[in-house]
């Protein structure tokens, strides 16, 4: 159930072009995403991956009073949440990722084996590559952010970005290829 109508107001204000609402909106989304993710941690079962995408969807449901928000505003929310999620993950990866080459140390917790460190490097590299893509094609970079960090499907992303699904499919195909190559993936 949506609790905080303030956030709805912030979202509406920001959608209407009032830039001052952007920062408090981001903060609220950031807090909520962290809180939700912690909740998932506590509830999680073995072998289920913690879905960043589900967090974004749930944050939307929790933060926004849907009665007051129209389709386009919702699109904005997802754009914000995807960006926040990206910042959350990448900032943390940069600050704390200890990249251990070779065997990752795994310590078990309730049956979930977690490898520490190895994946952080990939996230920071992806972030840098995404910034580079944005100088070439801001729309494609935003699409990757929406899909990868926000978890939107092709159709949802198309709706959010207000372009045709076919355009999104093509953008996705080439953006993905470009990023893959940029990150040194073998052909």
């Amino acid at each position: 159930m949506p609790q905080d109508t303030d956030v709805t107001r912030l979202l509406l204000a920001w959608s209407d072009g009032r830039e001052a609402a952007a920062t408090p909106l981001m903060d609220a989304v950031y807090d909520e995403l962290r809180r939700l993710a912690r909740g998932y941690l506590v509830r999680e079962r073995r072998d289920h991956s913690l879905p960043a995408t589900a967090l974004v969807h749930e944050a939307y449901l929790k933060l926004i009073d849907q009665r007051r928000v129209r389709w386009q505003n919702r699109a904005h929310f997802y754009a914000v949440a995807a960006q926040v999620m990206r910042r959350l993950l990448v900032d943390h990866a940069r600050a704390h990722g200890a990249t251990k080459r070779g065997v990752a140390i795994t310590i078990p917790l309730d049956g979930v084996d977690v490898a520490a460190g190895g994946k952080s490097a990939e996230l920071t590299a992806l972030d840098t590559a995404l910034d580079k893509l944005a100088t070439l094609d801001p729309r494609q970079a935003r699409l990757v952010e929406l899909r990868y960090f926000g978890g939107l499907t092709i159709d949802e992303a198309a709706a959010v970005m207000d372009v045709a699904a076919i355009t999104v499919k093509r953008d996705w195909a080439i953006a993905r290829t470009w990023l893959y190559r940029e990150l040194g993936g073998p052909a």
Binding site: M1, R35, L41, A52, A93, G111, A116, A164, A173
Partner: protein, 955 residues
């Protein structure tokens, strides 16, 4: 590549080239590039394209997301411990690497999940447990050094300080395959030694499993001793949840299911022998490579552990020494008295086997057999010895009152209704009643006594729905064919209590003989148990946007009652308390499903978890800590089906677990199966597009109750999601040109109709703005001019049309006291076929449109879901036994003639269809039929019964 306009060119060439055959691409790009840089860029991307195929298709690693939300960071201090890094996180909180500044050593710190403040009693208990565990020092046991609580910034945390163990878990090792017998044996001995040491000190592990066994350089170590008991309990009641940290999510039964001993599942307390059972399961898995007990769902797994012996290891690994196999079998005996009684016995037996194995294998088979016998005798001797010792120091017998969980399967040849089962537990806890559907589609009530192994059908309860009991457990009331009836539990002719038309859902019965019941678009009505006219008891509060009062249940005093108020604008509902003696109502809390009353407890569903809490009717509020009963309950939002669970006055509940439920199957007219969709999921309301190349479908996720609309591409077999709305999207239909869809959603309140583009590319608009009743689309005329829809108000459903052009006029097409549903325009738009129950049971009728006049009845002995053939010369419908019927039609401007219905084939659709729509469809040429059928029996989950849920598992 730094210039954006070049990038546009690259994009364009890339996609054009992709459409060509690979060999032709280079030449094409070379000609069109006009610039070597652009040419190289496009070619490079083309070459990487297929390798990049799956890139970024899975979302960020869960480990990364976890790491982000870890509550502590490097540098934080917990007392004398300084955090140096995060090792991992899981259901029990996060584990960090830390430095012990007093003793100058590395430790592991486990921070427990944050819940609402633990009271002093809870903290004391926690510390007493920890003290016992910390006394364990053994090379094979990872030591618990300390426990503590600290404040970090604004957070207060509870933590455990443990020995930092580095290595690989047995679980991770087993992912790569089974172990050779000698390795498995070595590990087994070390773990058994750990258990022996712990049991001698009076500590039971309670959660022995491969993930808790660490393979280190110096041997195997057993981790997390007794910590399963240290899980904090749930926080305070519902009012607090919904914002902030959700409550901890434990199964209520401590341990990990595949390794749990049968007596634990029956609610007995854990003792040394439960650890040994788990040990046996682990040893089995080490040798066989896969778990001893496995099943598709938790409820099935419980049944497997309780009833089935695991496949002998020798079947999978023929090299396994027989003595080892027998040793494991002894560990896995269902009766704890038949197992090894102490870990010490087990250690001895394992050593025998190891020493025997290490003896050089002689070529004579007889010598081998002899030594096997020696070992067996030796083991038995050790057991006898062990028994003598064990009886002296055995744990006290477990309490008789213990939680018991067992499944109730659908009787042979029947299935439960799709979605939740309609279950009612007898108030004396002696059994339960449920609805099951036979192969011929007949639905009826069955009674299962808990002291029996089988269920018995209740005669005379055909077409029954939503049963409930009298308080003395002598009568069972149910709804059928527009009436509320009751039948004695011992059998006999059911009696009518009163009329109950419309979408009735559930009733409740008090000690003074008053029955309350209700349905969609209705308020609660009361009627005397011996019959009479129903009178309303509650009033809908329009100011709160109430649409219906559902699922009434009497409180223990028989005067007060609880009910669910369904509102517009949200899928969540509110629980209210009312009384027969006054018109005051009081709000209790928000609830996602119905509630049950069991004595002084209120049973409710909170985020998919079934919980019980003390309820104070004087204050209309819950008090005290919730007791968790079960999770993963199969549940639909309350407006759509019977409540997902039932509670008895004693401490018994029953519910169904979530599992997928339907298949889309193609047949020809003769009923021969054609190629169909491979996937089973919860599908509803398939609708073919006008060009018959795609299909709209509503998909449900049974564990979250979410409803979304998907488009299936019939040629490629792919699916893509079209409408995903937090409010749920239901029952879609196509426009005649295939460019738009219409569907229902709770977005604005009620269940309103919306229209939007069929490629999901644009906004969605309400079709009937301001309409507050429940509306579902039935059909869209071929000429595009009219919508036909069902509208439910005040407990009745009618069919209306909306003219899409001009004045957008709404007209009633078929409206009466009877239920008119499921309409379809004939292809020429001059007729409408629909279903009505005016005769007492649902039949298919045809009427002219738009000049509505006389009606013709098409079906003879019951029929639903009439559908026209593409040329209007044939009508199909479903008979109540699931047979697909066909009727020849001769219709003209001046006359209408319908032939005799003849059966085509039996679709296998079970159940009472009147509430189900769009269960089949026919292609335009009438040659192929799509049937939406329930998945096979092994997929449908049984009812799970939990008895004595209020008895906490004892030591």
């Amino acid at each position: 590549m730094t210039v954006s306009s070049d990038w546009e060119r690259v994009n364009q060439l890339f996609h054009e080239a992709l459409a060509l055959a690979p060999e032709a691409r280079a030449a094409f790009v070379k000609t069109r590039a006009g610039d070597t840089q652009i040419f190289q860029e496009v070619m490079s991307l083309l070459q990487t394209y297929s390798a990049a195929e799956g890139f970024l298709s899975t979302p960020p690693d869960s480990a990364q997301v976890r790491a982000v939300v870890a509550r502590l960071q490097a540098g934080d201090e917990l007392g004398p411990f300084r955090i140096t890094g995060l090792i991992g996180a899981g259901g029990m909180g996060e584990v960090y690497r830390a430095w012990d500044t007093r003793l100058d050593r590395q430790v592991a710190i486990k921070v427990l999940p944050q819940v609402s403040p633990i009271d002093d009693a809870g903290r004391e208990r926690f510390e007493a447990e920890a003290r016992a565990i910390s006394r364990l020092t053994h090379p094979r046991i990872s030591t618990l050094y300390d426990v503590g609580s600290a404040t970090v910034g604004s957070m207060s945390v509870q933590y455990l300080v443990m020995e930092l163990v580095e290595g690989e878990t047995l679980a991770a090792r087993l992912k790569r395959g089974p172990l050779p017998a000698d390795q498995a044996l070595a590990i087994a001995i070390e773990i058994a030694e750990a258990l022996a040491a712990a049991h001698a000190a009076g500590v039971i592990h309670r959660d022995v499993k491969p993930a808790n066994i660490m393979l280190t350089r110096s041997g195997a170590k057993l981790l997390d001793f007794g910590l399963a008991r240290l899980r904090p309990s749930l926080g305070a009641g519902h009012a607090a949840s919904g914002a902030g940290d959700p409550a901890t999510h434990a199964t209520g039964l401590f341990g990990t299911l595949p390794y749990m001993a049968p007596e634990l599942l029956r609610g007995a307390g854990a003792d040394a022998r439960t650890d040994l059972f788990a040990f046996g399961a682990v040893l089995y898995e080490m040798l066989a490579g896969s778990p001893a007990f496995a099943a598709g769902s938790e409820a099935d797994l419980v049944a497997v552990i309780l009833e089935r012996e695991p496949t002998p290891i020798s079947a999978r690994q023929p090299q396994t020494p027989p003595p080892l196999e027998r040793l494991i079998a002894t560990c896995l005996a269902k009766d704890p008295d038949e197992r090894w009684q102490t870990a010490q016995d087990l250690v001895r037996a394992l050593r025998w086997v190891r020493d025997d194995q290490s003896r050089p294998a002689s070529s004579a088979p007889t010598a081998r057999r002899l030594s096997w016998k020696t070992v067996a005798w030796g083991a038995i001797g050790a057991t006898l010895l062990g028994l003598l010792i064990a009886t002296a120091v055995r744990q006290p017998p477990v309490s008789k009152v213990s939680r018991v969980t067992f499944p109730v399967f659908a009787p042979p040849g029947t299935q439960f209704p799709r979605g939740t089962a309609e279950i009612a537990i007898a108030p004396d806890g002696s059994g339960l009643v449920f609805v099951a559907i036979a192969a011929d589609g007949a639905r009826q009530l069955w009674l299962r006594r808990f002291d029996a192994a089988d269920s018995a059908a209740l005669a005379g309860t055909e077409d029954a729905a939503d049963p409930f009991w009298s308080p003395d457990a002598r009568w069972i009331a149910f709804f059928t064919r527009g009436k509320l009836m009751k039948v004695s539990r011992t059998g006999g002719q059911p009696q009518v209590v009163c009329d109950a038309r419309g979408d009735v859902r559930r009733g409740t019965w008090n000690q003074s003989g008053t029955i309350l019941f209700s349905g969609y678009g209705q308020v609660l009505s009361r009627v005397p148990e011996n019959g009479g006219n129903p009178h309303p008891v509650t009033i809908l509060d329009e100011s709160r946007g109430e649409l219906a009062h559902l699922f009434p249940v009497f409180l223990p005093d028989g005067r007060g009652f609880l009910y669910l108020a369904v509102k517009r604008g949200t899928d969540s509902s509110e629980l209210f308390q009312g009384s027969l003696d006054s018109s005051d109502v009081r709000r209790v809390f928000s609830s996602e499903a119905n509630v049950g009353v069991a004595g002084r407890y209120l049973i409710s569903l909170n985020k998919g978890v079934l919980v019980a809490q003390s309820y104070d009717p004087v204050r209309a509020a819950v008090t005290g800590a919730p007791i968790e009963i079960a999770d993963r309950i199969l549940s639909d939002p309350p407006r759509r089906s019977g409540g997902p669970f039932s509670a008895g006055a004693g401490s018994v509940v029953a519910y169904r677990s979530a599992s997928p439920n339907s298949r889309l199957l193609w047949f020809d007219r003769a009923g021969r199966a054609l190629e169909s969709f491979p996937v089973a999921a919860d599908y509803h309301h398939p609708r073919l597009s006008p060009d018959e190349k795609s299909m709209l479908i509503e998909k449900t996720d049974p564990s979250t109750g979410s409803h979304t609309i998907w488009v299936l591409d019939l040629l490629r077999g792919t699916t893509s999601r079209l409408i995903a709305d937090p409010f749920g999207a239901h029952q879609p239909a196509w426009s005649p040109d295939g460019r738009r869809i219409v569907f229902s959603s709770n977005r604005l309140g009620g269940l309103a109709l919306f229209m939007g583009p069929s490629d999901g590319s644009g906004a969605v608009e309400p079709v009937l703005p301001g309409e507050k009743a429940f509306v579902y689309i039935a059909d869209w005329s071929r000429d595009g001019h009219y919508l036909l829809y069902q509208i439910s108000r005040d407990g009745n459903t009618d069919l209306e049309t909306l003219a899409l052009a001009g004045d957008r006029q709404r007209r009633t097409f078929a409206g009466s006291a009877a239920r008119e549903i499921q309409g379809q325009f004939s292809p020429d738009g001059a007729w409408i076929a629909y279903t009505s129950d005016e005769s007492g049971s649902p039949e298919v009728y045809v009427r002219r449109f738009p000049d509505v006049g006389a009606k013709w009845r098409i079906s003879t002995r019951g029929g639903v879901q009439g559908r026209w053939r593409g040329d209007g010369k044939e009508l199909f419908y479903l008979a109540t036994d699931g047979k697909l019927m066909a009727v020849d039609i001769k219709a003209s401007a001046s006359s209408f003639q319908a032939g005799t219905p003849h059966p085509l084939f039996n679709t296998g659709i079970a159940g009472s269809f009147v509430d189900r729509f769009n269960q089949y469809l026919v292609t335009r040429n009438g040659q192929r039929v799509l049937v939406n059928r329930s998945a096979e029996d092994e997929n449908s989950a049984p009812i799970t019964v939990v008895m004595n849920w209020d008895a906490a598992p004892r030591q």
